[in-house]
């Protein structure tokens, strides 16, 4: 029965009517990917606009679902050569979708520069541009989340929180939320959308318009039905398209593949997948639905090995698949994931370089019963990343004490190739973070990664990244009576003249007051956005994918999920504050090497003419060298991010929480901060995430890890990250591999949460800057996620090169 039966599973260098094909299927698909240029697609925006015009006056969730359905029914269909898993969410390969219900103004302003901007430029077709200007803009004026949020923010929040690089509030008014993990295990695979749709219809029958409590539920279920019909239609359209292509296909081998693809799309996503290939195609349709719903940084694949392995084992038993073909299918899924694009305005692209969002995919870890979860697919996922070697998916592995050594070594071998993956995560700490977020211990065990390093679970609704804030600004304000050192503008609290601080303790208390001031505006902006999302952008399709919504008749935004977790805010520059405070404590208050006045003058002058003082500060203790003098301050900084934020609650009553990841946040945030008492000059990047400041962890990886493990990671359910750079020479041979594995196991034993290795020589990176064509496929780490090196701006490239190189000779 399964369609792949008839296909020659091993022949991947077929000759077709189009000419001789060279290389493996994976290589050919990858080359096609690399040849494609990112572009903006308006098809989804047009569908939403046209549908919205038809549904004026109807309930918002229903309108959103009908718009989604129209997008599914009208979006261009693409089946590219060699593909085994098909479907795109735009009119071409790497297409970012404009989402006018969230934000469109930025594109209206940036239309002239979007194709030429220095970071992440996009092509836009002239016809698409015309439709945007003539049809989309006129309809959406005043109707976007962006316009509403900016209109509702109080003046002081606007001043500190919009385009300042002190508070990045735009994450949830410029992008959708995303940030869910479709529940393949318990909902999607066992049911299929037809059954889900029927379930909604059954629920609807029990409700009554005369019952006030039922009204919102009626909206919810009606929207659910529309959303199901939409995604089912998309599958059926692809089936038809594949059948048509198969009829025309002259190459008999490809013809058979197309027929199989057509059969797959007839089956899924409407019904449950029956074999591995169908499951892979189903997974892809589910993700397409996510990206047709929302333009956002992070949708999550979840525990891929856990839910795909049963299909694989069953197919092996019936001899309907072999390992090679299954690997090809996985590779095809990987390339599809790499195609996904998160469309960002100029400002956002400064924070998140590299086009891709963060489509995380986790393998390893434990099962819900506590047993080890590594299986054949875990290894094949690692192999897929090795073979495909593109910036997405973000491959995460979850390691626990009983993780098989051969799996850990396979992961280390992949990491050593220098593509930055996988991200290694500590099962124990991830589980603790989830329990702190409110999960039952058994559910917590089945956690997965989301975004770059966020612990998550498929039964959870949260805003993992409500925004990021610049902690170094608080230190600057403490030493400058609340004024920016660069602009002179009063941004923080007008605290006392720093020359009058009687003690280090008094200075530190003042610093935390400045942090509180920032946190308050974090909370204000998020609560306003939270309320707007509940009013304007329900999530009918995504609510189908998370347990609890169908049962309760409540959308995700209204707390329908089984677990609701408060919003996470990312702190940036914690290590710069710890280092700066340590330098002040040592040199001003304890050893009295310099006076506060001398320090302030040196900072005002950006150390020009004060080189001695700068050196004194630079050579003061730095976080990342296993020195308690400064490491304890880093713990204080990070603990405070939990303590300060958790005082606030979102509109569902859930406390805010702390995240200490980084992305490329550290570059723009650094650009607005003057010289700092750690010896860093004005406008230079800050420390990323929870990591030491670049170049200051000079005592080797064990010292950096011991420092990092002092942080109380379980207090930060938004994730923490440690990036370490290793030169290949340090980890040669089997003993080098074992050395890496030991670093990971030991770091996790000490209580660390995440680590990732950048195993590339600085020379290679410099050469790549000079000869980008030779490095088209080089993937490098940018703070917790990966991007094509060539996609990054020169500044980000230089940042990568500058990070500490742990060289062991």
């Amino acid at each position: 029965m399964p369609a792949q039966e008839a296909i020659d599973l091993t022949n991947d260098t077929r000759e077709s009517a189009h000419g001789l094909k060279t290389g493996t299927r994976t290589q050919r698909l990858k080359n096609a990917y690399l040849d494609s240029k990112p572009a903006i697609c308006m098809e989804r925006a047009l569908a939403f606009t046209r549908s919205y015009k038809q549904t004026e006056g109807q309930a918002t969730p229903v309108r959103l679902a009908k718009a989604f359905r129209l997008a599914c029914e009208t979006i261009t269909l693409n089946i590219f050569d060699d593909e085994l898993v098909v479907g795109t969410h735009g009119s071409g390969r790497r297409m970012g979708a404009l989402v006018p219900e969230i934000s469109w103004q930025w594109l209206a302003k940036e239309l002239d520069t979007i194709q030429t901007r220095p970071r992440d430029p996009y092509y836009i077709d002239p016809e698409q541009e015309r439709l945007f200007v003539e049809e989309i803009i006129p309809y959406w004026k005043g109707k976007s989340i962006e316009e509403n949020a900016l209109a509702q923010f109080p003046a002081d929040t606007l001043k500190i929180g919009v385009n300042t690089d002190i508070l990045d509030t735009e994450m949830k008014w410029r992008s959708h939320v995303g940030e869910i993990t479709p529940d393949f295990q318990d909902i999607i695979f066992p049911k299929g959308y037809r059954a889900i749709c029927d379930e909604a219809k059954e629920k609807l029958k029990t409700l009554d318009y005369t019952n006030v409590d039922d009204l919102a539920k009626i909206d919810y279920y009606q929207a659910a039905i529309e959303a199901c019909e939409g995604i089912i239609a998309l599958g059926q359209r692809y089936a038809l398209h594949a059948e048509e292509l198969a009829l025309k296909e002259p190459d008999p081998a490809r013809k058979k593949e197309l027929e199989a693809i057509a059969a797959n799309c007839r089956r899924v996503p409407e019904f449950s997948p029956r074999n591995f290939w169908e499951a892979a195609q189903m997974l892809w349709f589910v993700m397409l639905g996510c990206f047709l719903s929302e333009n956002c940084p992070a949708f999550n694949i979840g525990r891929f090995d856990m839910y795909m392995n049963p299909f694989y084992q069953a197919d092996l038993k019936t001899d309907t698949i072999n390992q090679e073909f299954a690997q090809e299918i996985i590779n095809c899924v990987w390339i599809k994931i790499a195609e996904l694009i998160w469309l960002l305005p100029q400002n956002g692209s400064r924070y998140y370089a590299g086009y891709s969002g963060f489509t995380n995919l986790s393998v390893g870890g434990r099962n819900i019963d506590g047993s080890d979860a590594v299986n054949d697919i875990s290894f094949m996922a690692v192999e897929a990343t090795a073979q495909v070697a593109l910036p997405q998916p973000s491959l995460s592995v979850i390691i626990h004490p009983d993780t098989p050594e051969e799996f850990l070594l396979a992961c280390c071998a992949l990491s050593r190739k220098g593509i930055g993956f996988p991200a290694f995560h500590n099962d124990r700490v991830g589980t603790q973070m989830m329990m702190y977020a409110g999960l039952r211990p058994d559910d917590a065990r089945e956690w997965t990664l989301l975004g770059c390093v966020v612990p998550h679970h498929r039964k959870v609704y949260e805003w993992t990244d409500a925004g990021g804030y610049n902690m170094a600004a608080a230190l600057e304000w403490t030493l400058n009576q609340g004024r920016s050192r660069l602009s002179g503008e009063q941004m923080g609290l007008p605290t006392k003249n720093p020359r009058e601080f009687a003690s280090f303790e008094e200075l530190k208390e003042t610093f935390f007051k400045q942090v509180d001031h920032i946190m308050k505006h974090c909370a204000v902006s998020t609560v306003i956005e939270h309320r707007l999302h509940r009013k304007m952008v329900h999530r009918p399709y995504l609510s189908l994918l998370v347990e609890g919504c169908m049962e309760s008749g409540k959308d995700l935004v209204d707390g329908g999920a089984r677990y609701n977790v408060g919003p996470g805010w990312i702190v940036v520059g914690a290590a710069d504050c710890a280092n700066g405070l340590a330098a002040i404590k040592k040199n001003v208050f304890e050893e009295k090497n310099i006076t506060m006045d001398q320090l302030i003058k040196a900072l005002d002058d950006d150390f020009i003419g004060h080189e001695e003082i700068q050196q004194l500060l630079k050579n003061s203790p730095k976080f990342g060298n296993d020195d308690d003098y400064v490491d304890r301050l880093q713990v204080e900084m990070t603990d405070y991010n939990d303590k300060g934020l958790s005082r606030y609650k979102d509109t569902l009553g859930n406390p805010f929480h702390s995240a200490i990841m980084g992305l490329t946040y550290n570059i723009p945030t650094g650009s607005v901060v003057g010289a700092l008492p750690c010896g860093r000059k004005a406008t230079q990047p800050l420390a990323e995430g929870c990591s030491p400041h670049p170049g200051t962890d000079t005592s080797g990886p064990t010292a950096a890890m011991r420092s990092e493990a002092k942080v109380n990671h379980e207090l930060h359910p938004g994730g923490t990250l440690l990036n370490l750079k290793l030169l290949p020479s340090a980890i040669e041979g089997q003993r080098g591999l074992a050395g890496m594995a030991n670093l990971i196991r030991s770091y996790f034993e000490l209580g660390g949460y995440h680590c990732q290795f950048n195993v590339i020589s600085p020379e290679t990176l410099r050469d790549a800057q000079k000869n980008p064509d030779n490095y088209r496929d080089m993937v490098v780490r940018v703070a917790g996620y990966c991007a094509l090196f060539n996609d990054l701006s020169e500044q980000v490239q230089n940042e990568i090169i500058r990070r500490t190189t742990h060289e062991s000779l």
């Binding site: 080797g700 010292a703 011991r706 003993r735 074992a738 030991n742 670093l743």
Partner: protein, 316 residues
């Protein structure tokens, strides 16, 4: 009891089994021109000069009691004699002048070593005492080894082999692992290269091989100086014939990474003309070694703790 420690390098996977901390102690009886740690040769702390760190603040110049110090960028010293008082180091915030070598007691040293305990435990690693020649201070080394072993830390000694056996025997017996250098098999050449002959060294290797301590022979591969086929084969043959139980030979290809240290000390580097051997040459030399029935220790083999079974040796 104190000794001069140059550096404590945490996280090495290439200086003995597992993950190790390498302690570089000061003082060496040999003077090899390829030495990558020239600061390790002298027994006493020295002032190192690092021009690239210098910000030309002239603090050293102002504070020098002998009026000889000038900024490292400008050459570090004017005419006159430095009495190594270290005043300039105290005032140099940029660390452009810094002590090479710090006096530490065995207890202080072990406080640092034990920090990476969890990394040793998870990798069957430990500490390697290197240098310089760690056995120039056998009593200090013995004390340090004993303190480590009390905590369950595996200890290794890396030695050039030039010492009076009676003076060090008790210390060596305590060690868990030995990395023993043999630079050349010809006595005269050895003397010309390192300043001392090899008779004592080879005899000491025999003495250690009598003990029940895993030992690896390390041979630096210095093109044109000791990399001839004859010398490598002779080394392997010596190991095969006279050092029963040795785990194998580890070739250490020459590199110039110590060059900046020569600059820091104001020393001349004599091997500018020599380049690192290529992989093919090193591979060929390894083949000569295995042809003698002696295993090669490589990045892939690791420090396999299994002794070589005599029956596996190829005769002839």
């Amino acid at each position: 009891m104190k000794n001069i420690v140059i550096e404590i390098q945490r996280w090495s996977v290439a200086d003995g089994p597992g993950t190790r901390t390498v302690v570089f102690l000061k003082g060496c009886p040999l003077h090899c021109p390829w030495c990558a740690n020239p600061e390790s040769q002298d027994r006493l702390p020295q002032i190192g000069i690092f021009p690239s760190r210098c910000v030309a603040c002239h603090a050293c110049e102002r504070e020098c009691p002998e009026e000889v110090a000038i900024p490292a960028k400008d050459g570090a010293y004017s005419d006159g004699i430095c009495i190594q008082c270290g005043q300039c180091i105290k005032v140099c915030h940029a660390s452009a002048r810094d002590w090479l070598g710090e006096e530490m007691s065995a207890t202080e040293l072990v406080q640092v070593i034990k920090k990476d305990m969890v990394f040793y435990r998870n990798s069957s690693g430990g500490v390697t005492f290197s240098g310089g020649e760690p056995l120039t201070q056998p009593d200090f080394l013995k004390a340090a080894i004993q303190e480590c072993q009390k905590l369950g830390i595996h200890t290794a000694i890396e030695t050039c082999g030039f010492f009076r056996w009676e003076a060090v025997e008790e210390t060596v017996r305590r060690a868990d692992f030995v990395l023993f250098d043999i630079k050349h098999m010809d006595d005269e050449t050895h003397k010309a290269l390192t300043g001392v002959g090899n008779k004592t060294i080879l005899q000491n290797a025999r003495s250690i091989a009598q003990l029940d301590i895993p030992m690896v022979i390390r041979v630096p591969v210095i093109p044109s100086l000791n990399d001839s086929r004859e010398n490598i084969a002779a080394t392997a043959k010596f190991v095969a014939d006279h050092l029963p139980g040795v785990l194998g030979i580890e070739l250490l290809p020459y590199h110039k990474l110590g060059l900046s240290k020569y600059d820091a000390l104001g020393l001349d580097y004599k091997l500018h003309h020599i380049n690192s051997p290529d992989d093919a040459t090193v591979g060929m030399l390894r083949d000569l070694i295995t042809a003698e029935g002696v295993p090669c220790i490589t990045a892939d083999s690791g420090y396999d703790p299994q002794p070589i079974p005599p029956k596996l040796k190829v005769v002839g």
